[in-house]
């Protein structure tokens, strides 16, 4: 198992280096960094001196090595647009995105698994049909349309929920939280539902099809023959055996939630990292774009690693199979 984890870690580092290379190339090939630092009337020899000072004439591997070293320490330079350290700009936006994504993920997981189990156990129930129809709509609606429709119904027509911003936030040092004020919580509802809906339908469909498959197996029939309670069969035996694919997809979807928060944050003017990323794309703020890319990649790598570890926790078969190096 240890060998497996080490190999996965190594793969993760490779991915991070590849993404780092892309991010680094952004700085070098998209526009001249000197132009973003000095005025048009700066003479050529002065530019050349600055180049030498900043190490822009060094060989490519040395420059890249320096970039990685700085990046590991969280130093990604200054934002072109705001002339502030990139990490501080992104750091101030991070809490909003994390809180939104967290709530969306919880909604998607709890409701998705719950509805999936229900539709899997009672495929013919009227409620199951309703769930499935709703999920078909959820899959076909682009995220931004879901957001617009929710705003139209709940903010414009009914006027019960706010349609933009985060409401009042409470600060804990560098972290700001909307969980502790009523306006903050109310502002969270529509964006979180929008962000979670697509993932919810995906998880629900997956759990449903897995449940349908598992309920047909012999060991479930045997469990019934042993006279176990429905509860023990449905949750102890059936659901537990559907968990491996569900964890894989859910893990990947967690990453997708962070990425799709770009869209949701734009629709709801949510002051998070995604909104910052769109503004950076529009104004070609390369340092912010590059840093966002690296951060997201880090996030994906960590999630994939966690997913691999979770396999071992839920599926004992893999633990005994460890000598062959996982699955």
């Amino acid at each position: 198992m240890l060998a497996f984890i080490i190999r996965r870690l190594f793969q993760g580092i490779i991915v991070m280096l590849a993404v780092g290379l892309v991010a680094f190339s952004l700085f070098n090939f998209v526009g001249d960094p000197i132009n973003s630092l000095v005025g048009i009337d700066t003479p050529l020899d002065e530019r050349e001196k600055l180049r030498e000072q900043l190490g822009l004439n060094d060989p490519f591997p040395i420059q890249f090595g320096r970039f990685v070293l700085n990046g590991v320490q969280g130093n990604f330079g200054l934002s072109y647009r705001m002339s502030e350290p990139v990490m501080r700009v992104i750091g101030s936006r991070l809490p909003a995105t994390v809180e939104l994504s967290l709530v969306a993920a919880i909604i998607a997981l709890v409701l998705g698994v719950g509805m999936g189990v229900f539709t899997g156990l009672y495929p013919r129930a009227a409620l199951s049909r309703i769930f499935l129809t709703v999920s078909l709509i959820g899959v076909s609606l682009p995220t931004f349309l879901t957001g617009i429709l929710l705003i139209l119904v709940f903010a414009v027509w009914l006027g019960v929920l706010p349609s933009f911003g985060r409401g009042d936030v409470v600060s804990f040092g560098a972290w700001t939280s909307g969980f502790f004020t009523s306006t903050g919580l109310r502002a969270l509802i529509l964006p979180a539902v929008t962000l979670g809906l697509f993932q919810l339908t995906l998880i629900m469909r997956l759990v449903r099809s897995e449940m349908l498959e598992v309920m047909r197996t012999d060991y479930i029939k045997f469990a019934r023959a042993r006279g176990l309670t429905d509860r023990a069969i449905n949750f102890g035996h059936a659901l537990k055996n559907t968990l491996v694919p569900v964890i894989t997809i859910t893990g990947l979807q967690l990453g997708a939630i962070i990425a799709f928060s770009i869209i949701t944050e734009t629709v709801f003017s949510w002051p998070g990292m995604g909104q910052l990323f769109i503004q950076s794309v529009q104004s070609v703020d390369i340092p912010v774009m590059a840093t966002y890319l690296v951060l997201i990649a880090l996030f994906f790598v960590v999630i994939n690693l966690c997913v691999d570890l979770l396999y071992y926790a839920v599926d004992p078969r893999l633990r005994f199979d460890g000598s062959k190096g996982g699955h």
């Binding site: 682009p142 869209i263 997201i296």
Partner: protein
């Protein structure tokens, strides 16, 4: 001549695929709807009541009219007008045209790129294969929309924001195409690995045909089935991606509004209760995506020999 055409048509009508199409009413409705939307897109300039791109025909006094069935509506503008007095129906027809065009071309581009890289990767093997597939793995960890946004940002940096609008449509196509190639490459590579050991390929090699000729003339036709299924499903995804990019304000410019751009413009009026400007193009988009998706699902099942 006509009898031969008739015989061919008859053969198509009797084929398994056509039978599974006729059997499902949902698929027939989706097919007819898709066809209808394609026709509207192609003939948009002929059937639109107004020209939404011609500023001379737009009258500001007609601004913000609700749809015709509303008491304040004007029967001349069936789906109402936006704040500039543009007829929504015509704008939707033209937007549909753009959305479908961008969707189609970017899927074709992704397909060409993915197929070529997949063929090379599967046939060459070794380090070429390793490099292409690792690149695919890394890209696959990111959602397509993120890749498309990133490419968009890079293009802006290279072209410059001032001239971006003229080239926006090309950039959007490139961005979507480059973010969807992986699936094709992987599928084609997998099929090539199976096909390249078959006798007909060995025979072609023995005759001394050029590897490129073997790849594109002999192997490619045998791996196209799954590729077409992916392409259909990807068309819906590409349309959604374009709409999303345009909605986020980094896609097509306001001078050539696609459905996504129309929705974005309508979104600004939503707070004032002028719902139709955003909702009408949204409905068009959802119908388009839903029917293409249903067709794709059906095609996947119909071409899958396991499900026959």
């Amino acid at each position: 001549m006509t009898s031969r055409v008739g015989a061919t048509l008859h053969k198509i009508w009797d084929s398994d695929v056509a039978y599974s199409f006729r059997r499902s009413p949902v698929v027939v409705v989706a097919g007819v709807t898709t066809l209808l939307l394609f026709l509207i897109a192609i003939f948009a300039p002929l059937i639109s009541p107004f020209d939404p791109l011609d500023l001379a025909t737009i009258d500001l006094t007609n601004g913000l009219l609700p749809p015709a069935w509303h008491p304040d509506g004007n029967p001349e503008f069936v789906l109402g007008t936006d704040e500039q007095g543009r007829d929504m129906l015509s704008a939707i027809f033209y937007g549909l045209r753009l959305s479908l065009f961008v969707g189609f071309v970017s899927v074709l581009f992704a397909m060409a790129l993915g197929i070529t890289l997949g063929l090379i990767s599967g046939y060459a093997g070794g380090s070429v294969d390793a490099v292409i597939m690792r690149a695919a793995d890394v890209q696959l960890t990111f959602p397509a929309i993120l890749v498309a946004l990133l490419i968009n940002g890079i293009a802006r940096g290279i072209i410059g924001n001032e001239r971006f609008d003229e080239l926006a449509i090309i950039v959007v196509i490139l961005a979507i195409g480059l973010s969807f190639w992986v699936q094709y490459a992987r599928t084609v590579r997998g099929s090539v690995l199976v096909e390249k050991n078959k006798e007909y390929v060995q025979a072609a090699k023995v005759i001394g045909l050029h590897p490129l000729l073997i790849l594109f003339r002999h192997i490619l036709p045998n791996v196209m089935g799954p590729v077409l299924v992916i392409a259909t499903i990807n068309l819906a995804l590409a349309i959604i991606t374009e709409a999303t990019l345009s909605f986020l304000g980094v896609g097509l410019p306001a001078t050539t509004p696609s459905l996504g751009r129309l929705i974005e413009e309508g979104n600004r009026m939503l707070q004032e209760g002028k719902w139709w400007i955003a909702i009408m193009p949204s409905i068009a988009l959802v119908i388009l995506v839903l029917s293409v998706n249903l067709l794709g699902d059906w095609l996947r099942d119909a071409l899958n020999p396991k499900l026959r």
